[in-house]
Symmetry: C2
Subunit: 209 residues, 2 copies
């Protein structure tokens, strides 16, 4: 069982290795990677040991191989269809984000209840009426739903998504979703993140007085 802390670090390794690969770097030692990422070399070796290593003593890591292996670990070699519920600014921003597609996340549908938004297009996909959600999920093979709704509606929608077979929710609503334990939820509480910044800023400004 790999800890969520290690898993949480994998995407960052993946990002750095992708940049190195794009820059034509073929191999890298844990020491060099450590300096680049500001993480200790021993942390890197420990993290990679969770997955059987990837490295060779004295040679370092093969960048392309390591990038591919971490990508597979992250499930990025598979396709996942996703829908977005909530076609406001944030929902549209996420729908337009092409990088997701490159990593195997396929944008299949987007829903809203606002008649002024329904029918508009986001990257070639028409915004559907939220009343069509259940039918759409029944007819399409969708794994992941993104919720970008006010918190008052998010809990009801999460319930419908789970009934429709959604296995994973990427939740941007400012509420913790009560879903069955076999449904994954990854929260992005933007306000929480901004408040953390605000706290640390206040502390610095207090020290300066």
């Amino acid at each position: 069982m790999i800890s969520q802390a290690v898993i949480g670090r994998l995407p960052r390794y993946y990002r750095y290795l992708g940049d190195l690969k794009d820059d034509g770097v073929e191999r890298i030692s844990s020491q060099e990677l450590s300096e680049l990422m500001h993480v200790t070399a021993s942390q890197i070796r420990q993290d990679f040991n969770n997955f059987g290593g990837f490295g060779q003593q004295g040679y370092g890591y093969n960048v392309e191989y390591l990038y591919g292996e971490i990508g597979k670990l992250l499930g990025l070699d598979k396709k996942h269809n996703f829908v977005i519920v909530g076609a406001g600014n944030l929902g549209r921003a996420l729908g337009n984000y092409l990088n997701f597609e490159r990593r195997g996340f396929i944008f299949k549908g987007i829903f809203d209840k606002d008649p002024a938004i329904i029918g508009r297009e986001v990257r070639g996909i028409k915004v559907r009426d939220i009343s069509e959600l259940d039918e759409f999920l029944a007819e399409n093979d969708v794994d992941i739903a993104v919720i970008t709704l006010p918190k008052t509606n998010a809990v009801d929608i999460a319930d419908r998504l789970v009934k429709g077979g959604i296995r994973a929710i990427w939740n941007f609503a400012h509420v913790d979703l009560p879903v069955p334990s076999d449904v994954l939820v990854e929260n992005v509480h933007l306000s929480d993140s901004l408040m953390k910044l605000s706290y640390n800023l206040s502390q610095i400004q207090k020290e300066e007085k």
Copy 2:
């Protein structure tokens, strides 16, 4: 010195207490709060003890008082002006998000280099040419900058922001920013978060085979 882990939990307490306050709840025990938030009561008591408690034995916590105190701790009783660099979908979404204003974050300006976007309005504020950034920072009292740019431009812009007196960066670019140690950076790497979801989903789907 309060740990970043505790600080990271404060916004969530703040969110729950705000909801309780809105629902007219006047007081709550750590046990009740524990059940609501799915955190142990002992964790709650420990967290609050970092700030001198807030509670009374046998009475529980006064919701409004606690909400106000945590808000002050988070620096939400102060105003912070912020600018957004990058007026794409995500930048506009964040500019339009009224909730930030309620928490003391005042939207002052938004910048882009794309002539097709410059001059458009986001919540009554015109998108300015990025070439005006340095002058704007010199003339306005801005604490926080939000970066919603492709990673290739983000590092240069961060440098300009720091020279312009920015103390805290809320970074949505997929790159770690090399800034002086007295500048705060709070990263929101959306791709990383989605990859974490993808990893956990792959694990579940493997187990089912």
